[in-house]
């Protein structure tokens, strides 16, 4: 769960940043590169990326920084950044790419709207327009995308936890299913479902806060 939260947080922050940078300058080289990379990132199988990152970390990066071989060692504490970094990196790629795409798409609609042009025409400076007029209007699709990002990360978390020997919910779920431990499996499933519901509810509440007109949140988030 820690892994899930970290990765989605990292992924959405970087993704929104990338999307903002490339979406505000459509047609630039960076925007083109960002769209290609995000396209690749959405469809790369997470286990292939996991294999590559694991190999890279173990073979090159950890020796280069003089880190001991702790990546797959389950006795090292969970919050140890030496263990957390690699799986979180792998898991965050898909949310990141998805958020980038959504941000670019939302920006493309918003920056040509009339109120943005009016704001510029009033003589407001660029940061003011960005913070007051552009960002609040792309917040809604971004929150919806955040919801889907959690779902993406959740569906690949089993593979990643298994690959990185990370004793989390997904790993135990796979083990319990293999061991025919239906009680443990159902507890874990319920805990996953409750977590997702909690996140979903929080996002719905946030959407309702942002846009008070929306009463049927279910029509927006799905």
């Amino acid at each position: 769960m820690l892994l899930l939260l970290t990765s989605v947080a990292v992924g959405s922050l970087v993704g929104v940043g990338l999307g903002l940078i490339s979406g505000l300058r459509p047609g630039s080289k960076l925007a083109g590169a960002a769209s290609y990379v995000s396209f690749l990132g959405v469809l790369t199988p997470s286990f292939l990326l996991g294999i590559i990152v694991l190999l890279a970390f173990v073979r090159y990066i950890s020796p280069a920084f003089g880190v001991r071989f702790v990546l797959l060692d389950p006795t090292v504490g969970i919050i140890d950044p030496r263990r957390l970094l690699a799986p979180a990196l792998v898991l965050s790629v898909r949310p990141m790419a998805f958020m980038t795409q959504v941000t670019i798409g939302a920006l493309q609609e918003v920056i040509h709207r009339d109120y943005v042009r009016t704001a510029y025409a009033k003589g407001l400076r660029y940061p003011t327009v960005l913070w007051r007029h552009i960002l609040p209007n792309i917040a809604l699709p971004m929150l919806t995308a955040l919801n889907s990002s959690f779902f993406f990360a959740l569906s690949s978390i089993f593979v990643i936890e298994w690959l990185f020997n990370w004793s989390g919910v997904g790993f135990y779920l796979l083990e319990s299913v293999l061991a025919r431990d239906s009680l443990l499996a159902s507890y874990l499933l319920v805990s996953i479902a409750v977590t997702l519901l909690l996140i979903n509810t929080l996002i719905k509440l946030a959407i309702r806060q942002i846009d008070k007109r929306i009463t049927e949140v279910d029509a927006v988030v799905s």
């Binding site: 997470s46 294999i51 073979r59 298994w162």
Partner: protein, 370 residues
Amino acid sequence: MQLRAPTPPPINIWWMRYSSVLIGVVVALVVLSMILRRWVSHIKVSAWMRRRALGKRTEVKLGRGLLERSVTGGVRFLSNTSLVLGSLIILTLLVAAFTPQALAPYEKDLDIGRFLQMIEGTLMAPPIPPSPPYPMGTDHQGRDVLTQVIYGTRLTLGLALAATLIRLTIGVGLGGVAGWRQSGVSQQILSLSAVSASIPSLLFAYLFIVSIGPQQGFGVFLLGLALTGWAELTNLVNAAIGWIKAQPYMEGARTLGSTPGHLIRRHVFPNLAPQLLPAFALELSAATLILAELGFLGIVFGEQAPSSIPQSLRVVQAAEWGGMLSGSRILLFSKPWLPLMPAMAFMVAILGFNLFGIGLRGWLDPYRSS
């Protein structure tokens, strides 16, 4: 007496001999298509050519010549980079699926690299890393990985295709019913699809297949892959049919007294198909991805041995990419090519389906994508 290690057998990879030509053709096609796209969309071409190339049927001219049609059609096809790339990948996969013996360097399941061999001056034992006689290396039983990958295409992609077809049937059927008759049934169908959408497909497939047993065969894998994941198709079809029903031509046809069957055949389906085909390609890539992850987790089609045997020693009868992936996690550091090569095959297939789907969307529906 002098012992001589056998040299590896000669290989017949005709396409490797021409690989530079093949790569050159692919690169040329891609570059040509990028140039064409830029030319079609940006530079001032004559308005006639641009309209034709973008497929905007602004004027109906009867009896266009064959040459003209083929030129405009070719420009439209070639200027769609993702469609060109996706078609090339899918064509390769189809060739590998239907005539693997034409592409594979060795025969199927031939443990040709079983013995000690002299490869580039060093003596090597079975798991041989990628080297000229074995372009992707060999596994523990001395089988060439490239050959296994090529022979595995048929089963892997056939499984994914069958599962996707079932998903398509469920999704289009439910979505069609929900969209066609806007009543209490459609509400229930939509809530059912929302429930189905909230289940991670990989988790469901894993639970389903493990609890029933992967040795039961094809049907278990099919159902495990197909019972979730149709919700997107349902929602798509539902929304599309709702949109089509509100169009003026439907009203006109209904006023003229068309029967529902005629309406569906003549008006709904032709307008639905351009949205359905790309969705089908994307769904196919999703099913392939789940198959890959299942294989990686050790849930393998065609597995005969009981699962108490360590995964790396299990004998997988059917040549399949997922089976090659399974049990390779512990070999990751010592023999990285064993997991990497089938994973790359999966990646290429998924990339091909995605590119094809996205390209097809632009090809069939030029208004909406631009």
